[in-house]
Amino acid sequence: MPGLGVVLALGEAPIFRPGDRVRVLARAPIGHYRVPLYLRGKQGVVERVIEPAAIDNEAEGYGRNAGLKRHYYRIAVPMKVIWPNYPGSPLDGLRIEIFETWLERM
C-alpha cells in the first residue's frame, strides 16, 4: 500500500510479474539442478507467480542456506522457441516452474 513508507527486505517481493518476458539462464553449474537443459537459454513469458515463495530446494539439496525461500514462477514457452523444427501446430506450448535465480529479464 503506497504512503505507508514500508520498506521490503531484499528478495521479499517477486521481481517478475505476469506478462514479463524472461530468459532462462544458460548456466551449467556442476550438480543436479531442476532446470532442464533443453530450456536453458530459451525465452518465455511469466504466466503467474507461484505463491507463497518456496524453499529453494537447489540450495537445500546441497545443504546451503537451509530454509531459504525464493520466488517461483510459472513460465510459458512456445514449442517453436524450444525446437525451431518443431513438427506440430504453431499454437503448441510448454509450461514449467522455475526459480527466480534462473531467470533474467528480456
Binding site: I55, M79, G88, L91, L94, R95, E97
Partner: protein
Amino acid sequence: MGGSHHDHPRAEIGQAEPPGYYEIMETAVRELLVEKKLIGPDEIRRQIEVLDSRTPALGAKVVARAWVDGEFRARLLADGRAACEAMGISFYDDTDLIVLENTDKVHNLIVCTLCSCYPRPVLGLPPDWYKLKPYRARAVSEPRAVLAEFGTIIPDDVEVRVHDSTAMVRYLVLPRRPEGTEAWNEEQLAALVTRDTMIGVVPATIGRMPR
C-alpha cells in the same frame, strides 16, 4: 484357450539373484537411518500404507465432482490442492497442485522430464512408461506423435500444452466430460475417469463402459 489350467511353470517368488548396486545402497541407507534413530521401521511401513491408499480412484472422484459441480470446478482450477484437501485428500509430500482443464481449444499433457514427479497424493504411483526416458524426452519434443501412439489425435487448431514438473508443483489434467453423459451421476462419471485421462494421454470416453 484349450486347457483349463496354465501348464507353464510359474516364476519363483523370491529373490533368486544377488541384490543390485542400488538395492544394496537403499538397504544400507535405510539401516543407517534406523540405527541413528532418524526414522523408525514403523515410519517406513506407515509411509507405504500412505502410498498404497492413493490410487487413480481418488483423482477420478475429484474430476467427477468438477464435472457436476461448477462451483467446485472453479475452486479446483483456482487452487487444486485446497479443493482436493476439502475432499479429504491430504498432500503428504507438501506439493502444490495445478489442475489443467482440457477444452475445445487446449489439450493438456503432463510429464516430468527430469525424473518422475507425479501427482501422487491424488493418483498414487505413476505408470512405468511415465518414468522411462522415451516418454520423458518425447512428451516435450514431439507431444503430438506421443499422443497419436496412445490413439489420441489432436486437431491442429487445438493447442497441445505440455507441463513439465520440476520441483514443488504437480499437475492433474481435468479431462473433458464426454458427450451423452448429461444424465449420469457422479459415481457413474467417476468410472469413466482413468489414470491416463488425468495424465492427458487419452480423453475420457464412454466407449467401452457398461451402463
